[in-house]
Subunit: 380 residues, 2 copies
């Protein structure tokens, strides 16, 4: 097992009817920015619950955080934060809204001139941030209980992530009922996102960390079990609750303790979103089987364990196949052509971008620009 | 799944050679109380590592916290805390030392006249505590990453627990190497303690929480796998590291999220320690099979799942038997007579104590004084 440090200070408030709990947790002595997205929370009753819980607070709304939140929009919010002397951000929505709020909170405290530095340094320059609380309405990214955020910049078609200790939410409310009205596509995306988060931290090579392996497998097995149920019966509370808790634990740093991590699939996937506008999870489902096949020699032993324990499948190749079939069974395409993208073109664009960045991703640092191009060509 | 809140702010610093990390984490602007036990840390090099890491700090030593730490000893430490204006406690040792430090930290801030109230109210009256950091040298109780402590009072032969949000350690250092010189008996005890902690939170009845079940099973399976190895080869780093991480996750509140809990075995076990001086884990190994057999009707379904997944055993009775065999295989007795205790006498004493307390333990609140007596009689 590798050495590690682990700290996750976020308070999770989980269950039916828990949104009212924010009232006692959001401070009353500072103006609060209520950050949300395109208005779906006004259609599912969440907006009203939040407003009711904060009726004794000074609240300034900032709607309009887009899917794949942009630096441009968030910096407009930072102006408001400064003008209004905001002291707390409440993000209500999915991963994009929460990521946007984390960036606003860090950018508002950033002493330099260009807050995009936060992304360029992947958070290394973040020393302070305003406190953020969240009400999660879309289980997927795990951002409700980690210090990560992914932000896009329209001007340069970039999509980068940052991580900072000060960016963990103070609290996150997870009421599975808020997800009952989500379109099936977003649930499908959320399942794939959570599933691939686990795999990025698990499907590498063994470092004699059997508990971490089994905890990762626990999440994968549970997702395999509940995903079809929660897609078929959106109002099955227990299935939705299990999916929601899986998505949080998939990326709250716990299963990463003491083990190597990959993240190649995410790095390539972010480029597909930046260039072609694919949903984040759509990119993961396309790229992951390509990464595994390309890295089969390194990953064979772990793929065999994964196949055996999660799919009762024999052999590494069968494990890759079972995973792709699982994604397809959720209605998730796994080929570039399914999205109308020419593999050769995508390979060229990503190769150029990775070459510029001198990319060397993966648990062995051997996924270069050329390797990424080969992976994408294999996903035609 | 039941509603829950989950928050665990403790920073875990895990791995080889990590004790030096305390230097930057223990505050320098207040006197620090360095709390330890009977001096084993002076024989295994841990004492020197701590002293070296704190050479620029103002440190006051308080040795002599005993196994099953007593209120009497801890209150002497509280006097020193007040005299010396201690602002931080560093507990170095096993669960007893850490529990003792947590009680000292809470008692020093307790505004009433009798700090035993903290135990009598199980922590409800604890509103503040001095910060505590720990260096764990004996994996077992999970106290390094939770807000719990168990304290005994000699004067009345009582052993009670308390839990408080302010009692989570600020940080805990876990270097598996510090455990290499532990006697086999303490490792055996630690494995049983961690194993039973998981079972108290898992072996009840299903509330459609499959992820929590699988996470609990992950810890149990890993303990079954690594326990014989770590007993046979104390210096096998990986086995010891996995055992240590299992013991932490067994009782850091995570697997308890959204599920019913039992704790009958612990409640009866504490009385056996208070009356007969048995090691905590020894009491658990004796009592647990009795609780399960007594509560078989309620627990059958979960016992079957546990047997199938952890022991590949068919049926609830086989699961009970496999567990007792596992304890015995570690050299852990499971009968009262193995400890020279007359079952009838123990049953009588515990029944009287529970009756006084109007005990109604277990996930259904149906383990009364009479039930506890029947359980103990069955463990002759």
């Amino acid at each position: 097992m590798n050495n590690f440090t682990y700290k996750n200070p976020t308070e999770i408030i989980f269950g039916k009817g828990t949104i009212g709990e924010i009232g006692s947790r959001v401070p009353r002595d500072v103006p609060v920015m209520f950050v949300y997205g395109g208005g779906s929370i006004k259609r599912n009753g969440v907006y009203e619950q939040v407003v009711a819980a904060l009726k004794s607070h000074r609240v300034i709304e900032f709607p309009g955080i887009e899917p794949n939140p942009t630096c441009e929009t968030c910096l407009r919010a930072v102006d408001v934060v400064r003008q209004q002397k905001i002291g707390f951000l409440l993000a209500v929505g999915g991963g994009s809204v929460i990521d946007g709020a984390k960036f606003i909170a860090a950018a508002a405290c950033y002493p330099g001139t260009d807050p995009w530095e936060i992304l360029r340094t992947h958070g290394a320059c973040v020393k302070a941030a305003l406190p953020v609380g969240t009400v999660l309405t879309l289980p997927a990214t795990g951002t409700e209980s980690n210090g990560n955020a992914v932000i896009s910049r329209k001007a340069t078609a970039e999509k980068l992530h940052f991580t900072a200790d000060v960016s963990f939410p103070v609290f996150s409310v997870l009421d599975p009922q808020t997800t009952f009205t989500l379109p099936a596509k977003q649930i499908r995306n959320g399942v794939v996102d959570a599933f691939v988060h686990v795999l990025e931290q698990y499907l590498t090579y063994s470092v004699a960390a059997p508990l971490q392996d089994r905890m990762a497998e626990a999440i994968l097995q549970t997702l395999v079990e509940v995903a079809p149920r929660t897609l078929a019966s959106p109002q099955d509370y227990d299935a939705r609750a299990s999916f929601m808790w899986c998505a949080t634990l998939a990326l709250n740093n716990l299963i990463a303790c003491g083990v190597p991590q990959d993240w190649t699939t995410h790095m390539i996937g972010h480029e597909l979103t930046a260039f072609y506008g694919l949903d984040h999870a759509e990119t993961l489902a396309v790229v992951l089987p390509g990464v595994w096949t390309h890295q089969l020699a390194h990953k064979r032993s772990k793929l065999e364990q994964y196949g055996r324990r999660v799919w009762a499948a024999g052999g590494a190749e069968a494990a890759v196949e079972a995973t792709e079939k699982f994604f397809n069974s959720l209605g998730m395409p796994t080929r570039l052509k399914d999205h109308g993208i020419a593999a050769e073109e995508a390979a060229g664009r990503v190769q150029a971008r990775f070459a510029e960045r001198k990319a060397a991703y993966g648990e062995h640092g051997d996924v270069t620009a050329e390797a990424a191009a080969a992976i994408l060509r294999s996903r035609a």
